[in-house]
Point group: C2
DNA sequence: TTGAAAGCGCTAACAC
DNA sequence: GTGTTAGCGCTTTCAA
């Protein structure tokens, strides 16, 4: 069944049916009524691909994420989809699994589906991939890459303010030796976060120790490994920051397994503030990266780019803030033998 | 840029370009080569909506889920998307947030996008909603609703075998008073699971006590509330089953807060086996519902329906199995005063 | 082995 | 207020 079918049943033309569906005010109310009824009875739904074909836009935004099993992303997706649905748009989600050929496929799918823009939260992207998007004039908003350009905006995470807060908090509790569990090596977002950590240490006046910095993988297993390494050091940190909550939670698990109690023997601070962090035991002190705000900044940035297609994108920033729970406490008294 | 553009550049017709893209063997190798090069240089991507318009199919499957922040669903999505991408298909995901008007919107979106089928994992659907899908000949596969029909298959979760295993396990540990934290009241999937629990109690030879059955909401907060109620009973259960892992984990939290230690004072069994259940402390004993298998059964069921459009669907079953971890242990000795 | 052309369903410009 | 019609990009049948 198409609009012509409906038109015939209602005794009008397909143009009128189109007008009714799109709420044009030019149609006589009784006609509207009649057409509506026929649409209802026939259970008719307009075929979106015809409009997409005609106008080259699909009212769909693409979202590319690395790993949907990291709770941070579903929480973002939930908010983002909510905004889209509220604006009568659709979402095409694709996950890269940290794999660059998957990433290429994702971009390809986005282009073939004529998405109106792409929110790119997967930072392992090579520049090459998104050149295709730029070249095809698809608005692109990235997370924490720092580069902008024509049709390209970036939402950076203000790691700095959050890290400062976290380190001040720890310093206030008497901690001096602070470790770090990183993300996946080589991703810009991980590098930014490590940089932010190092600089924050300096600003707060704590020493940086290379052996206190371990890589993880943004998942709990990586956090466990990294923490195990940190705790096997002769001179251990008394507090640890992690690149995300999942790593921090893995780290807590590893610590508990090794008989290190939290926060008595060791303090831990996460990053993201996923829902889980409140439920876990002990509840995790963490830097909150607010998903609702992040989602709406992405949406706003995309809409901006779409409405001014040929102009240069902008830098946006989302702030982080410290949420103190129970995984941080006073630094333990020094043991004999360790400095 | 469209196929005619490519055709002109390559000195062929758009038909030939189409043939090259679709891998037709009728084109002379040198022509293929030439066209390929032009496509490459122009960074051309075919416009999927034209094909969708022409053939009424989009090579996209829809997935409708209630709540993406419940880790069970991302884990399903991850597997399902993997299968789809491997078969050159796309996924249109929609979440209902347990809201029936959102559900209607979801179905509408699916119909407008001409999805080739829908995997419906949200059981709060009213029959009315999916009549639209059936009416428009869209293959539909539901989870644990039990009804099949023309173009409609169902994947049921074999709660029974799993519940039996769980209760045998608990009985073997000396438990006699077993509580249950349910899902959202009124959802068929919740009702099925409660039924399965009651029948399993009978089969295993344990008594059923209405006051031991509490509703939750599939989230940790609901599990906390339900557990708090259970523990406020004068005569408490010594073991509790939950409708999903999130509820079980919430239940553990509540128990810990009330000074009830797990598994010493109370045993808990979850349902799903989300990744989190292994990380949580203590690691959760649970009934595993294997997501990779679930995803592939859904895909298979959809493909079956698509290839035989006018025939009746089938019943599929996915079995659950008990994974014993550390949240279950021997029943505590009876305290004085409680029977 | 390649080309020409019709038609999928919708919408907006134009005609009445 | 309503109807007519062209055309979005692709594939496939038919013709050459």
């Amino acid at each position: 069944m198409d609009m012509r079918g409906i038109a015939k049943l209602a005794g009008v033309s397909s143009a009128t049916v189109s007008r009714v569906i799109n709420g044009s005010s030019l149609v006589r109310p009784e006609t509207v009524e009649r057409v509506r009824k026929v649409i209802e009875e026939a259970k008719f739904f307009p075929n979106n691909s015809a409009t997409t074909l005609k106008y080259g836009r699909s009212d769909t935004y693409g979202v590319v994420i690395p790993d949907i099993t990291n709770p941070f992303f579903p929480e973002f997706i939930k908010n983002f989809e909510g905004i889209l649905v509220g604006n009568d748009k659709d979402m095409l989600m694709a996950t890269t699994e940290f794999d660059s050929s998957r990433m290429q496929q994702c971009i390809r799918r986005m282009l073939m589906r004529k998405v109106d823009g792409v929110a790119l939260l997967a930072s392992e992207i090579e520049t090459q991939s998104f050149e295709d998007l730029i070249h095809n004039r698809v608005p692109l908003v990235t997370m924490d890459r720092g580069h902008i350009g024509r049709g390209l905006s970036d939402v950076s995470i203000d790691n700095r303010s959050g890290m400062d807060q976290a380190l001040q908090h720890l310093k206030g509790l008497g901690h001096k030796k602070i470790g770090y569990i990183g993300g996946v090596e080589g991703l810009t977002i991980s590098d930014h976060r490590i940089d932010a950590f190092m600089h924050a240490l300096q600003r707060v006046g704590l020493e940086t120790r290379p052996e206190f910095i371990k890589v993880g993988n943004y998942r709990s297993a990586g956090g466990m490994n990294a923490m195990t390494e940190l705790l096997s050091l002769k001179d251990r940190p008394t507090a640890v920051l992690a690149a995300n909550d999942l790593s921090a939670i893995g780290g807590m698990r590893a610590a508990m397994k090794l008989g290190v109690s939290i926060p008595t023997d060791l303090s831990i601070v996460g990053f993201d503030d996923i829902e889980l962090s409140e439920i876990v035991h002990p509840p995790l002190t963490t830097l909150r990266l607010p998903r609702p705000e992040l989602a709406s900044v992405f949406f706003y940035a995309l809409e901006q780019l779409k409405s001014t297609p040929h102009s240069r994108g902008k830098h946006y920033t989302v702030k982080t803030s410290l949420v103190v729970r129970e995984s941080t406490g006073p630094a333990p008294k020094r043991r004999r033998g360790t400095s």
